[in-house]
Symmetry: C5
Subunit: 321 residues, 5 copies
């Protein structure tokens, strides 16, 4: 579905143009065209391929979802794929933005993305001195928008980790903890899939050998690179911490079990002693003088209780109860 | 066993040719020969070695199975080994395709491969404008076919992992889980053996220093590279998740054991108390007034049951039962 | 908040100058300006941006906190971000110092830093032969001060680790140990966030391709690099040791539990034997001659105790008790 | 001990020569000398050092055993150390072959190697067209022989791993499994010591900057490199699998223990119930009407057995027994 | 404290010289000065700094202990720090040797080193043809001496590991094993701190870009590099093995506990059965015919014992006892 198709000159919007007019505009110097598609159909992309002269392999990749983020050069143009990651309630939703960028055009195709990029275009149009840098600035603005949306996701993951950490040393919460840690790990890996390949690829847009039309915007791409590294560092820390937390959780299970075992042992001992005494006086020997005493029973019960109380205090003191 | 031996000119099939005619055709300019062998015998390969002038070490490698995937240059020609991985029911079957590629010939030798590559040839012949790119396009088409067949295998592994994940927090399934995780790990390692060395090697076919006859098809090989990276990323995630799942599974075993221990402790305590009381009134003291009471027995039984019921509720409340 | 704004010539302080005068002074040859801000507001930085001609993206980064440490070149000037890490009681406090460095100016902006850098300026003014090296020496002096403040933090972490290690093989301290190890790990990761990116970045200031105005101070930056490597090595060792300590702690839990189980088994056996004997002589068979004996009871009790004492010694000998 | 000392010309054996004649032959063009020593003594090597003009440090290394595999250039000559690994029954035996290779000589010195290299010389003499490539081909032939002997060792390790894997999910075999896994790990590390340094070093003999006299045999060394990579990949897989197997084994211990605990709990419960009932009817209350009934005893025993049988079936159903 | 201060010419000792004469001698061509200090004080180093013209930062590093091993170039001279590691009984003692090396001088400063380097000087003076290579040979000789002293330390660690390995599968030694493994790990990390940074640094002294005065001794430094790699490889193996040993030890604890649990279960069952029977015949039913039989008691006892013996053999057979 076509969202926008606009021609710009020296950073200012010329006009909305028809798809058929694209090939005319991209031949004018100092002029560039910025087209946005959403959940594009093969026939829509075929038209675009014709208008812009796109490479077959790139178009195929844009149609298929679940691409790895990447930045590929086809002759003088770039084909960029980035993944969007959005929180949809408790779940993470992964979408894709494919961008074809030439000296004087940007074509963005988004699939399965919940929140659009109209704001990016609006802001760019309010800053004509920046938009005048051309198509590479549009590419930067779109990538920056995508990457900036990773930060709230990272925050959500960090908050979840902190919530789990607060409960990690609490008795009886280990089952829930381990389930949540596992789920968290899964989400971290999903976000990493969006971040790491892009981190590797974006080095092509600043530093050494940069495509000609990106020379002026290098510092902007370095800024995106820096954001990605920050996210990547945060994800590494979360992963590392999850690993340790799982180990620690197992230790807590073992420690808690050990304490239960000790209490079991202690109570078992107390009752075993009680029963053993009762067994003694339940024996049928003819000559057991204490059985004849008037207060024998009272004394026996008292003795049995005393021993058990004594054991109770001793176990208590040694920390078993 | 010879499957095909065909000469092509400008992307169009000239004719099936005899093996002896190969050396004639590969001397014609604008013409290339595409030969496919299956489970080749030493004598068949010796003929091919003679016709194409293949290097001794490469031929030896093609005869032996279980080669690492690799791309080696011998003078102006390439020797490529890739592994096929196919699902054969629940088991993975690993085969090998060795390819000798020169400026004007492709010789592919497949061993232990279940599904052939006739479809690749058919499709290539339907696209003469691509086939006109020559032998390197055939190499691409074959490698692409092999790599595309990894995707359903990865999908099968991911599905298996998800099935295990659905059961990982269910009591009593830990033994099965651990067996399936171990088996899954084994399969992942098998597929990795096919993918990782190829990923390292394929960089030679695009980017920096590419053999002369592959210059036009660089972007195609980059596409294969990209697919391999996607597969590799997916395998890394599966491996990482398996590792975590094994740890989590062990935690679940420990947690479940801990719960069983608690229940054991609780029931043991209840019966120990019951038996202790019975032991008291089974003692043979002469003066135990309650034994004489008419409702002593009923009261005693009631008391014993009451205490046990009380304990039961208390344990229940504290989550032990 | 402006802290200082001073102009220097040939390593000697000229005078405190007003903010508006900055742009005049930085045009004089052999003269440089060193400005220090604290918790700068957007409007303060806007003035500085104007005076020094700073890049928009760098200014944005300096305003936002929680940046990764980094060293970026903007044309002929450098933008440096370092993190300060200070112990605030038992907690670690992370701040940020952003530095804009040109051939003849240094602008440092610190956020959330407890201890200031007045001492650095004082010491630099006492060593005019060094300060004469210009702005790059000031950059070195500030970075060196920040990095030197990591050492006491590392020492505190090492001391904490040693305290835990002293208790790791002591029975009953495993719960506390694991909590402290987890907390320590968290702190190590925080400090690593400050150290590792800086370690990667600082290579730009010595060795191969160094900004022109840093050529004379390369050896000083190499010294900072060396300090960072020392810290990084120490952190790696702490991390590695924490990992092992967590594993060892789990082993100790298991060993201690095992010993408790053995003792439980031993005492359970002793009482079970005692009760079994009592049960035998509590049976109601008519013909049990020993019940009639005068010393039957005494003999029985003695036998029961003897067996239990024998068991006790045997268990003791085999290390179960 | 001198094994062979032979001069070759254009790939054909000239004659066995005396040690003293070596220095004459190595001055003739188109001629090379191949000397093999076994468990060489210092004085033997001193003579060789004199004849061939070997570097002091290399000779020292050849005398000492337990060197790391390495390839070092001394001027125009190479000093190569490889380790042999042979199965000696169930144990692995590690030996060493040191090779001094110049443009027109090869001196090999083997220490603690069980199986010699006479077959390598014999085969080389049967292929004069290959031997004509000179000393670098001899170096290749020797290295290839050493590396080929790693394959059966890897196979033995893989077979051992599979044997353990077959038993890993069998109850009661965990102690043996863990001992065998540990032993296997030890062997893998030994073989890795022979393989990994050589893998790093052999890159010097093909590709970029190759010693002049190895230019013609590059493809052969690449083949050895490829074999080493295959072995290395296999060892990595074994190591990875051992790690997982140890984890899985621990899980199986925990699962088995858990099952034993459940059975223990179940049987304990059954007997506890039985004993509790017996305790009730063993009480001495005067008014316990069921004690007077004629079939009271039979009914009681039946009731007790019924309850226990009922518990047995219930536990059985829930999988505890 | 000054130990030696000697001038050499063409590999031969000229004479002991006074500290003040150093600056004269180092201006003579073909002459070099070798000075050794021990636990140097600031004032001693200040004199040396003046005589040799040493860089301030290097002198500071030499005064402070606990430096990372490193090799730094200051103009045409080198500043080298290596750590000595010596066994002091069971403990490891870490010292430091700082070396300032110029074209015609070597100044070594050792701190906290137990065994001196007089032997190195003596041996060097006995080999004038080597000492004639100048100051870089002295640097080599000192570094080689330090690195050679790592080998007995590695041997001690390996011996300790083997001792632990011999006990790892022995019941009841797990607590000691884990303590010793932890201690061993600590020592390995200490030695690694001495080895790894030096390994990274020493590459600067052979191969690509070597300081001019080290060109002739490259092969010697490569030899030291090789020794360090050997030590590093050995340490990696020890670390890897310790990791596995800790895991294995935990498994052994679990297996041993499991066996104890089984025995506990078995004995508990035997006594529970015995007591249950006794309980039955201790019941007070009026009509229990077997109680009246003459041999009832004997039969009952026999039956009870028989059942227990039967259970004992069954448990024995199934490996629980």
């Amino acid at each position: 579905m076509l969202i926008n198709c606009v021609a710009y000159q020296e950073g200012k919007k010329l006009s909305d143009i028809s798809v058929e007019a694209i090939s005319d505009y991209i031949q004018k110097p100092d002029c560039f065209v910025w087209v946005a598609l959403k959940d594009a159909q093969p026939d829509e992309l075929a038209i675009m391929q014709h208008e812009f002269g796109l490479h077959e392999l790139a178009v195929e990749d844009a149609l298929r979802g679940h691409q790895r983020p990447k930045i590929e050069e086809y002759g003088d143009s770039l084909f960029v794929v980035v993944q969007t990651v959005e929180m949809d309630g408790d779940e993470m939703s992964v979408g894709q933005v494919a961008m074809f960028v030439g000296d004087n055009y940007v074509l963005s195709v988004r699939n399965n993305v919940m929140r659009g990029f109209l704001g990016v275009r609006a802001r760019a149009e309010r800053e004509p001195h920046l938009l005048a840098k051309g198509s590479s600035f549009v590419l930067y603005a779109l990538m920056d928008a995508v990457v900036d949306r990773y930060f709230p996701v990272v925050d959500a993951l960090e908050t979840e980790l902190e919530t789990i950490e607060d409960r990690i040393f609490i008795r009886g919460s280990q089952r829930t903890n381990i389930e949540r840690l596992y789920e968290l790990k899964r989400k971290v890996l999903m976000l990493r899939h969006a971040v790491t390949p892009l981190l590797d690829a974006i080095g092509k847009l600043h530093g050494g050998r940069v495509p000609a039309f990106c020379l002026d915007t290098q510092e902007y791409f370095r800024d995106v690179h820096d954001h990605l590294q920050r996210i990547n560092g945060a994800l590494d820390t979360i992963r590392d911490t999850i690993g340790t937390a799982i180990q620690v959780n197992l230790s807590m299970v073992a420690i808690d079990d050990g304490e239960v075992n000790k209490r079991l042992a202690a109570w078992a001992a107390i009752f075993a002693v009680f029963t053993a005494f009762a067994g003694v006086w339940g024996m049928n020997f003819d000559f057991m003088p204490e059985l004849k005493w008037k207060y024998g029973y009272a004394v026996a019960i008292s003795a049995m209780i005393s021993v058990c109380v004594y054991l109770y205090y001793r176990f208590r003191k040694s920390g078993w109860l």
